[in-house]
């Protein structure tokens, strides 16, 4: 499993036959391929560029000439208001809420998920596969199904309007994927290592904590990254469980900001752009784990 991200990034192997066929295809297809790819990339980037540049415009500019690309003149107040002006309080509070929820829920998922995956991977006990299937089941159904009773449950637990009330269910929803990705990884660690650790006096937990987890760092990074993206972008659960502006996460904040300032498009665009920066920065650093994790889970079928 650990080799898969590497496979994904490996340059395609070359051999004489392949080179010949590539020559045949590239003679016809090289330019056309670039044309298609550039066109698609353009479609992807237009909304992003529109938002980034729109944030530097005034509403007058946006309305009078929506097709113009560059702002004229460049206006910085929209962004500065969001980052340290009079919209900054909302933005930073929402960022903090998102961070708190992400930290708690990802921490819980990775901790509990790796404990469970360890048991499923390396211990023999009756009912193991049935129990594992129960977790796999969580991957197979639409999570929206649980949302109404979840609201009732969280309310009964007294966690409505509490960030913990969002973090706990989100950790639970991320568990299946975590367990399913970690189990084969934990399995692939040689039994000899476990024997050696035991001879040196390690308990089961000692082996898990001191030997297995350090070896599993790449896999732990992968599941963390996947859980972070899921939690960070979650919308429906926070929408239901959080009931005041001081608890909103970034996606909720962005939506409410766009309603509140519906006549001030430039400001909405600036807020949206600043709100997407953390995700983009994170993507830039964690792309490998993200792609590797998604494909290792899915390509096996």
């Amino acid at each position: 499993m650990s080799s898969e991200p590497a496979t994904l990034y490996a340059a395609s192997r070359t051999n004489p036959g392949r080179r010949r066929s590539r020559l045949i295809r590239n003679g016809l297809g090289g330019t056309a391929r670039y044309a298609v790819l550039v066109a698609v990339a353009f479609m992807i980037l237009v909304p992003v560029a529109y938002a980034v540049l729109g944030g530097f415009k005034t509403n007058g500019q946006l309305a009078a000439n929506p097709g113009s690309i560059l702002p004229d003149p460049w206006v910085f107040t929209n962004y500065s208001d969001v980052i340290f002006g009079h919209n900054a309080a909302a933005f930073w509070r929402e960022t903090a809420n998102s961070l708190i929820i992400a930290a708690v829920s990802v921490g819980l998922t990775v901790a509990l998920g790796s404990l469970a995956a360890f048991v499923f991977a390396r211990l023999v006990f009756p009912g193991r596969e049935a129990m594992y299937t129960l977790f796999v089941f969580g991957l197979l159904f639409p999570s929206a199904v649980a949302i109404l009773p979840l609201y009732i449950l969280v309310r009964n637990l007294g966690l409505e309007g509490n960030l913990l009330g969002v973090a706990l269910p989100q950790a639970a929803f991320a568990l299946p994927l975590t367990v399913v990705i970690l189990r084969p990884f934990f399995r692939s660690i040689p039994a000899e290592l476990e024997d050696a650790a035991r001879i040196d006096g390690c308990s089961t937990f000692g082996f898990f904590w001191r030997v297995l987890l350090p070896l599993a760092r790449p896999a732990l990074a992968t599941v963390s990254v996947l859980a972070i993206v899921a939690t960070w972008n979650a919308f429906m659960l926070p929408l239901i469980l959080l009931n005041g502006a001081d608890q909103w996460t970034l996606p909720l904040g962005v939506m409410n900001f766009s309603t509140e300032y519906s006549s001030d498009q430039a400001r909405v665009l600036a807020f949206t752009v600043v709100a997407l920066i953390p995700a983009v920065v994170f993507y830039a650093f964690a792309e490998r784990q993200l792609v590797g994790g998604l494909t290792s889970g899915a390509v096996k079928g």
């Binding site: 790819l37 390396r122 159904f141 962005v254 994170f282 998604l294 079928g301």
Partner: protein, 310 residues
């Protein structure tokens, strides 16, 4: 290779191991059971009551909520909208993602950049994507102006306001966000296919299309099925993007099962009815999951050659 083989000396016996299993497994099981499994069971339970979510659960109505759902025109629209998105995703989005994956499955300058760009929308939240698109799609905003500029002004529509168009607009936005995800999966699948097999087919005289049809596509089967499955489950629970861009309107034209469920539960305080809609959504998901399981199990018995990396 697995831990299932005979245990060497020095490892704990079964009773000790069961205690370990309990200690390791219990926290995860408790969290998962409480916040995932229990609510699903509760949905089935609530669905048999007329209930506003506050009073005691006493007004048992049997299957009335389900009957009501099937007679609810808004909910029927929701179901057909979810199915429409599934059909469009399978007919357009996944083939498109596959096409791009094939284009990217070669070594050429700029390949990594394209992959990075195509996958970018996946990490953005649907709320953010939805808001930017709804601003772009407002009448006489960027999209309309752009179309006029390139001489296609005749194509302009009321993108998010016309009940005949709005689902297609939504499908476009959803595809914008998710085709890169499917492309990445399929690209990884393509890279798992040994070049030697394609080369052998070419030496036997197969042209590009024949190689794709008879070699690449069958060997890509497992990945393609995962992609199809994830796409269907995603389409079934479509909520965020709709809520942010149209809120289910205009005139229920973009209603989905999840939107209907949310509105029943939280704007109309019909928790019982909303739970019945949740159970129906669950049953749709179950059908998809069972079909997937059957299909995959059957295929995996047929040919071990399709296995990727073990």
């Amino acid at each position: 290779m697995t831990a299932a083989r005979a245990r060497p000396r020095g490892r704990p016996r079964l009773p000790t191991r069961l205690v370990t299993v309990g200690l390791f497994l219990l926290p995860a099981l408790a969290l998962y059971g409480l916040f995932v499994l229990f609510p699903i069971v509760q949905a089935a339970h609530y669905s048999l009551f007329k209930w506003n979510g506050l009073q005691p659960l006493t007004d048992f109505v049997g299957l009335d909520n389900y009957v009501k759902a099937f007679n609810d025109k808004g909910f029927r629209t929701a179901v057909s909208n979810n199915l429409l998105i599934i059909v469009l995703s399978l007919a357009i989005q996944i083939p498109f993602a596959l096409w791009l994956a094939v284009l990217l499955n070669r070594n050429f300058p700029g390949r990594a950049v394209f992959r990075l760009i195509f996958f970018l929308p996946y990490v953005l939240s649907e709320a953010i994507a939805g808001i930017v698109f709804s601003l772009m799609l407002r009448p006489e905003a960027l999209v309309d102006t752009g179309l006029t500029t390139i001489g296609l002004g005749g194509l302009i529509q009321d993108w998010l306001g016309d009940t005949n168009i709005v689902m297609l607009t939504l499908f476009f936005i959803i595809s914008w966000k998710y085709f890169g995800f499917h492309m990445i999966l399929l690209l990884a699948g393509l890279q798992g296919i040994p070049h030697e097999i394609e080369e052998a087919a070419r030496i036997d005289g197969a042209d590009n299309l024949a190689v794709f049809r008879h070699i690449t596509l069958p060997l890509l089967g497992p990945t393609l099925r995962v992609s199809v499955f994830l796409s269907m489950i995603g389409a079934l629970q479509l909520f965020d993007m709709v809520w942010v861009t149209t809120g289910g309107g205009p005139l229920n034209a973009t209603n989905t099962m999840a939107i209907a469920m949310f509105k029943a539960g939280f704007t109309k305080s019909q928790m019982g009815y909303g739970s019945a809609l949740a159970v129906i959504l669950f049953l749709f998901g179950l059908v998809v999951a069972l079909a997937y399981q059957r299909f995959v199990l059957r295929r995996d018995v047929e040919g071990a050659v399709t296995a990727y990396n073990g």
